[in-house]
């Protein structure tokens, strides 16, 4: 039941996607960015706009893992993303042209869309010796970024390398690799951490930019809050084992087989902010993310953790506010009886005691009376007799 629908501009929607599927996709996108469902229609409007936003994709010191992970996405697939959502004017990976032709196309697009295009940067930037360790078309990465960066409307730093150096900048970092926001200090850079980055974080960010034409809410490290506001532990499926103290102590031991918490193996989940457990990885199936398949989180999304701390060193749980289920040193004790309560109690006791006393007194009297009466009766009876 393929129904090729046509939007108001006469353009076929999504290359054979039914209207139903398309709106479903928009709603899912809205949910993943953390927007209300009503935003789905706005997203639909934005991404069917015939004037697709131009995207320049620059690749520097990287391993192409970011692009490979993007290939894993299937809602939408990469072709939908590239052909229908954005106009990818320059990328080294998917262009059929090469060499000076490609570079010329890039420069043309940048000049034409100055201040309008989205810049996606992939890979760290060598800064030592004026950045001669990474060159493209005879220009250094540093030079290209400093030239292109200020002309872009939005800059997305894709992957840990691009954000803070990542694996490439691990000690001793011989080429002086740095992240994008260290070089374009006067621009706001959207940092999408993790190595490789989750394709859906990129898609969600791009769709947010298309729909609202403004940056998504960012935290103090420039990361979108919809994806990086919680630690890995927060949504981890193994976290209940942590709270019960059930740990895997060695790879392949009983606890590891039973799916216990990997903290004792050096999981950096407690100090890494990422949405890996919520959206999993690359849509490969259930529990397909690092901790899900039994490997401790290495903290690739967190500067100063991934490729900095030893892989199996224990993580450091960040309890910004420790959960309230812990026993406190001084359990709260009630303030005791208030004066009013004491007065009420004393009054009731007084009334009860008074009533009892009166009752007792009356009881005695009644008994006495009854006794006297019976004695009298006895006496009269005796007299009569």
């Amino acid at each position: 039941m393929e129904c090729h629908e046509v939007d108001k501009n006469g353009k076929k929607l999504g290359g054979g996607v039914s209207r139903r599927d398309f709106l479903k996709f928009c709603a899912v996108m809205a949910a993943s960015i953390g927007l209300p469902l009503g935003a789905g229609s706005k997203i639909a409007e934005a991404i069917t706009d015939p004037n697709r936003p131009p995207v320049i994709w620059l690749s520097f010191s990287e391993c192409t893992g970011c692009v490979m992970s993007l290939l894993q996405a299937h809602h939408p697939t990469l072709d939908t993303f590239l052909l229908d959502l954005i106009s990818l004017d320059y990328t080294r990976m998917f262009m059929t042209t090469a060499g000076h032709t490609a570079t010329a196309l890039r420069d043309k697009s940048i000049e034409e869309n100055k201040g309008k295009f989205i810049l996606v940067v992939e890979g760290a930037i060598p800064t030592k010796d004026n950045g001669i360790y990474c060159k493209s078309g005879g220009r250094t990465a540093l030079d290209i970024l400093k030239d292109v960066g200020p002309k872009a409307a939005f800059i997305i730093a894709l992957g840990s390398c691009t954000v803070w150096g990542g694996a490439a900048a691990a000690h001793p970092n011989p080429t002086g690799l740095k992240g994008v926001d260290k070089i374009l200090t006067d621009k706001t850079v959207i940092n999408l951490n993790t190595c490789p980055p989750s394709p859906y974080n990129l898609l969600s960010t791009v769709i947010h930019l298309l729909t609202f034409n403004e940056l998504p809410a960012l935290d103090d490290k420039g990361r979108p809050k919809f994806a990086y506001s919680r630690t890995v532990c927060n949504n981890c499926e193994r976290v209940y084992n942590f709270r019960a103290g059930r740990f895997a102590w060695q790879f392949g031991d009983e606890g590891h087989k039973k799916g216990y918490c990997l903290f004792a193996l050096g999981c950096k989940g407690p100090q890494t902010f990422s949405n890996c457990p919520s959206i999993l990885f690359g849509g490969a199936g259930a529990e397909t993310w690092c901790v899900g398949i039994g490997h401790p989180c290495c903290g690739c999304a967190e500067e100063g953790v991934g490729w900095t701390l030893p892989l199996h060193q224990l993580g450091d749980p960040l309890y910004h506010f420790p959960p309230s289920h812990f026993a406190r040193i001084d359990e709260p004790v009630g303030m005791g009886a208030t004066a009013a309560a004491a007065a009420v109690v004393a009054g009731s006791v007084g009334i009860a005691v008074g009533a009892g006393a009166v009752l007792a007194k009356r009881l005695g009297k009644e008994e006495k009376k009854a006794k006297e009466l019976s004695e009298k009766e006895d006496a009269t009876v005796a007299k009569e007799e």
């Binding site: 019960a244 059930r246 903290f263 060193q313 420790p322 812990f326 026993a327 040193i329 359990e331």
Partner: protein, 324 residues
């Protein structure tokens, strides 16, 4: 009254003399000689700066001591293990508990349990030796068959670490015994064997004291290899040292404890009592062993009473008059 002032003073002086003669001047009401730590005594070093509040110790303790630590309503098997409750303090169902200390600048976790005093007050207070201190390991043990249920130990314990099974027809006192039932199996305290960070560290007390003073000598932020589980296990956790409050709680407090505490703040703020260096047991035993030396005080008291009774009944012992 058949006693005159003169006789009363005579009696009083006599008993005073007796008391004075019995009590040697050096020991008069002073604490008795403190008990020594056995050389192979075992204990726990709890480092509050390493504790992450995972409650593994609480849960594993209940699992290792099922005969005393789990109430039937919590005895629900889930995935082959039993779930744990969230205790708010030490009780007959909880031999150890992690408590949270919060203040403006941060927070700290503290493990409360029986501290296995070198000179334990419960052993001293027990009238029937239901509590004994193991001469080799120094573990304070409890024998249910001897206990008469007077609960003097509960009142004597400065850490409020002894629970009483109120809801059982044949109750017993319940407290941490450092998993001494696991020692013959070649294991050690469950709380320490499952602590992932090394916050609760098991070992010989002598070794633990050395380890604790090494930690106090560390600079703030200095990387250190913290032993995990057992001080001789070889497992280490590599991490920078935290800022320590310069005191090993349990080194001298209460005459020395086999469970020691290191913390970033004063241990007194973590709910641990401020104890003098002389144990309560030594002080109280010093007093009553002075009074009861050679059973002198009761004899003197009885003598005085007998004398008084004798004086008071003098009239009745006179031969009866013919008139009456």
């Amino acid at each position: 009254m058949g006693i005159n002032r003169r006789d009363f003073l005579k009696g009083a002086a006599g008993s005073g003399l007796l008391l004075a003669a019995d009590a040697s001047p050096a020991l008069a009401f002073g604490p008795r000689t403190p008990k020594e730590l056995p050389p192979d005594a075992v204990g726990i070093l709890f480092d509050s700066t390493l504790c992450i509040g995972c409650n593994a110790c609480v849960f594993r303790c209940k699992q290792a001591n099922p005969h005393m630590a789990l109430r039937p309503e919590f005895n629900v098997p889930i995935g082959g293990l039993k779930i744990h409750d969230t205790p708010i303090g030490l009780s007959e169902n909880t031999l150890t508990v992690i408590k949270l200390y919060k203040h403006d600048g941060g927070h700290s976790f503290i493990k409360h349990q029986c501290m296995h005093c070198i000179d334990p007050a419960c052993v001293s207070a027990c009238p029937v030796t239901a509590f004994t201190k193991d001469p080799k390991t120094g573990i304070v043990k409890f024998c249910k068959r001897v206990c008469i249920g007077c609960r003097y130990c509960q009142l004597a314990c400065p850490f409020v670490a002894i629970g009483f099974k109120w809801d059982e027809p044949f109750p017993e006192m319940v407290r941490c015994q450092l998993c001494d039932h696991l020692i013959p199996l070649g294991k050690y305290a469950a709380c320490c064997s499952y602590c992932p960070t090394g916050a609760a560290l098991y070992g010989r007390v002598a070794d633990l004291r050395k380890e604790a003073s090494r930690r106090l000598d560390l600079e703030y932020g200095e990387p250190y290899r913290f032993p995990v589980n057992h001080i001789e296990s070889g497992r280490k956790s590599f991490r920078p040292a935290a800022k320590y409050y310069p005191n090993i709680y349990g080194d001298t407090e209460g005459g020395g404890l086999q469970v020691m505490v290191l913390a970033g703040v004063s241990p007194l703020r973590l709910g641990l009592p401020d104890l003098p260096d002389v144990s309560n047991a030594a002080v109280s035993e010093g007093v009553f062993k002075t009074i009861y030396k050679w059973f002198a005080a009761p004899i003197v008291l009885l003598g005085a009473l007998v004398y008084l009774a004798y004086r008071n009944t003098e009239e009745y012992r006179k031969p009866k008059d013919e008139d009456d």
